[in-house]
């Protein structure tokens, strides 16, 4: 790396002692680039074995990459922590201005440990960390209000990122998230609860430094090449136009869209919540992450009349994409867009992962239908498929639980199903609630074997759609493809490139871009580093008790029709056993 690059600076913050220090960790950034690669090492260093994820000593790590602030679409921050949701590797990525702000503030990573006695928020600016009293912000029911207060009180307009949790994080809901720039999330695996356990309400970070490159002419040329592809390629345009929501119709058509807790894989009534229809009737604005020309963030405006005053409306901007329409729409039988947007809005306000919440609501509805839980368990709320008002009530109740059942639901569908039954239709993989892809066995093997049990670990659903739907592959062949893809993605998330840009940044391109920042790493070498990072993650997972043989698979996946017709117990178990033989 370049001699003066501040990427190697790691900011260590101690919330117990209200102290901070900066260390140069060139050792880590030269070996593992940044982002996921460096964050994994910092997690292994900073998180003692077997620690309760909500213990003060548990670290929160944020890391950005060398390409952040240098090339477009490299604006992702990797958050790493021990997950209170799975007790396993906690990793989630977010864009917004988060990565640019961390890099421009002069850091490659931030490590937060300890716990404050009173609620605080942090400001990180000009090489200093300030600990601000957030007592007054604690408990505000709409998480966007504390963000507004931070926005009004702190400087750095246009250059800053504002992170914050909602009441779900404060109340330690294990799938609570951290929101940045109102619409981007460190969504999965419960970073919000880790913030909450430290009484950390949020943080504001900003800066605007220079990053030196070693060949100015080459830099501009390569920049232009990447920028041109990003703004002109049809792949990126897809993310901008209708966005990922375009997949609702496509997956419904091939019978791969989970409907009503995956009792079905398509529905005849999804048209109003299709990406095209929402774009036509409700889309108000598209916005972008910092330093990304694509603008894939879709905001709808929800207009709700007040009952007590004619012509008086509440208008709320609501961010949506494929995963939200699936989890808070089709999965719970909501096919009316206004009702969908209302449910998304409350999920945003309290600050929980939308996919986890949707899957829990869907499982709960089936439990209720089967009379495996009573109205008393739900504290008097009657629920049925598609009833958004009831679901809104339930979301609020899960965040402030009044019954043992709702309390169990605040810890995830696996936890709740272990206590109340219904495991065969509790749609979790590695204790993480599923994403919206009933595409075939590769999708499920992807969830099961991915280091963080996310669909984005390896994009298994794509193997189903590109390959398995047409040709036969063995489970071993599928797993080989998954592992190869996951290794490549470790590099993307280490240099901090958005996975949407994976078509632009192949390893050759990453290698060329890194050369301008003083790294001499061939694409082959990068692939090796990617594999190593993946194994390092498994080192953490195994250390914390992950075992392939303990993976629970809900029977439902074998029962509902899928596009490949190849989801069998044999295929899934062969895949898991093969992965175990390679990784264990």
């Amino acid at each position: 790396m370049m001699p003066n690059d501040t990427l190697s600076k790691v900011l260590y913050i101690d919330l117990s002692k209200k102290k901070f220090e900066t260390k140069d960790r060139r050792d880590l950034f030269e070996k593992y680039l940044g982002g996921t690669g460096v964050a994994t090492q910092l997690l292994l260093e900073e998180c003692p074995e077997g620690l309760n994820p909500l213990h003060p000593d548990a670290p929160i790590i944020f890391a950005v990459g060398p390409l952040t602030g240098v090339f477009p679409l490299a604006s992702k921050t990797c958050a790493m922590f021990k997950s209170p949701h799975t007790g396993d590797l906690g990793e989630s990525h977010a864009g917004g201005r988060s990565a640019i702000a961390i890099r421009m503030a002069g850091y490659g990573a931030i490590v937060i440990k300890g716990a404050s006695e009173i609620p605080v928020y942090l400001t990180i600016q000009g090489g200093k960390v300030k600990f601000k009293n957030a007592t007054t912000l604690w408990g505000m029911k709409d998480g966007s209000i504390p963000a507004r207060v931070m926005r009004q009180n702190e400087k750095g307009e246009g250059l800053r990122a504002i992170f914050r949790i909602g009441t779900a994080g404060e109340n330690l809901v294990t799938y609570s998230n951290v929101t940045t720039e109102t619409y981007r999330h460190f969504g999965r695996l419960g970073l919000g609860a880790v913030f909450g356990s430290k009484k950390l309400k949020g943080m504001v970070i900003s800066g605007k430094q220079m990053i030196e490159v070693n060949n100015k002419k080459e830099y501009r040329n390569l920049y232009d090449q990447i920028y041109k592809t990003a703004t002109e390629s049809p792949i990126m345009k897809k993310y901008h136009d209708v966005g990922t929501a375009i997949n609702i119709k496509a997956l419904n058509f091939i019978k791969a869209l989970p409907v009503k807790n995956l009792q079905f894989s398509s529905s005849e009534s999804i048209e109003p919540v299709s990406g095209e229809s929402i774009a036509q009737h409700h889309l108000a604005r598209r916005v972008a992450c910092a330093h990304c020309p694509v603008a894939c963030i879709h905001l709808a405006f929800l207009r709700e009349p007040y009952d007590d005053d004619p012509y008086f409306y509440k208008t709320s901007p609501v961010c949506y994409d494929f995963e939200l329409i699936y989890s808070l729409g089709t999965m719970v039988g909501i096919d009316e867009p206004t009702n969908l947007l209302k449910l998304i809005d409350i999920v945003e306000q309290v600050g929980v992962d939308a996919m986890s919440m949707g899957v829990i609501l869907a499982w709960m509805t089936e439990m209720y239908e089967r009379k495996m839980i009573s109205p008393d368990d739900l504290d008097g709320t009657e629920i049925k498929w598609g009833d958004s008002d009831a679901y809104i009530e339930i979301v609020r109740k899960i965040v402030n639980p009044t019954t043992d059942f709702l309390k169990a639901c605040s810890r995830g569908v696996d936890h709740a199903a272990n206590q109340y039954g219904g495991k065969e239709f509790a749609m979790q993989f590695g204790k993480n609630e599923m994403a919206g892809y009933h595409t075939g066995p590769s999708g499920y093997l992807g969830f099961l074997l991915g280091a963080r049990h996310s669909h984005l670990d390896n994009g298994g659903y794509s193997i189903d759609q590109k390959d398995l739907i047409k040709i036969d592959l063995t489970a071993q062949q599928v797993v080989d493809k998954l592992l190869e893809e996951e290794a490549i993605r470790q590099i993307l998330s280490s240099v901090a490139v958005c996975f949407f840009a994976r078509g632009i940044y192949d390893l050759k391109m990453v290698s060329e871009a890194l050369k301008l920042l003083g790294y001499d790493l061939s694409d082959t070498r990068l692939a090796e580093i990617g594999k190593q990072i993946h194994l390092n993650k498994y080192t953490f997972k195994m250390r914390e008790g992950f075992r392939f043989e303990k993976l629970d698979i809900p029977e439902r996946i074998y029962e509902t029709a899928d596009p490949t017709g190849k989801i069998t117990r044999k295929f899934i178990h062969e895949g898991i056993n093969y992965a175990k033989s390679l990784i264990d």
Partner: protein, 140 residues
């Protein structure tokens, strides 16, 4: 030629223009940018695009105690960096905050109306305007 905001409502807040402006120096980052994009009180309300309007009687030059900011014919100013003492009065004098600051050098960054940023706005928010005389034009 004059940099102008053609349609602020099309801005998505990607800040590609800011990075482009800073990249004129050949390096990456944002230290040298003299165009600013910020939300208008939250991203959902859209964005404010701040560009130098090349005032014909520039207030920034009027307050400069050392004559480092020199008004140009037809509007705008030129920075004579050697004369600049980094006092920041020019920054305070600009009511639209179009004087940006290079923290590393403690000097203002002044838009030279080169239009490099325009080529990196994918949504046609910016344009480089030319009037009949080829000099100045009112901008948004």
């Amino acid at each position: 030629m004059k940099l102008s905001v053609k349609d602020v409502m099309r801005c998505v807040g990607c800040q590609s223009c800011m990075f482009a402006c800073s990249r004129r120096s050949g390096n990456a980052g944002l230290s040298n940018t003299c165009i600013g994009i910020k939300s208008t009180g939250g991203i959902s309300r859209g964005f404010t695009v701040i560009v130098c309007r090349s005032c014909e009687n520039p207030p920034c030059a009027a307050v400069c105690p050392t004559g480092a900011l020199v008004p140009k014919e037809g509007g705008g100013v030129r920075l004579n960096s050697a004369k600049c003492i980094g006092c920041g009065l020019c920054k305070d004098a600009c009511v639209i905050d179009a004087i940006f600051w290079n923290e590393e050098q403690n000097k203002p960054v002044i838009c030279v109306q080169c239009g490099y940023c325009v080529d990196y706005c994918p949504y046609e928010v910016l344009e480089l305007k030319k009037d009949k005389k080829g000099v100045t034009h009112d901008a948004e």
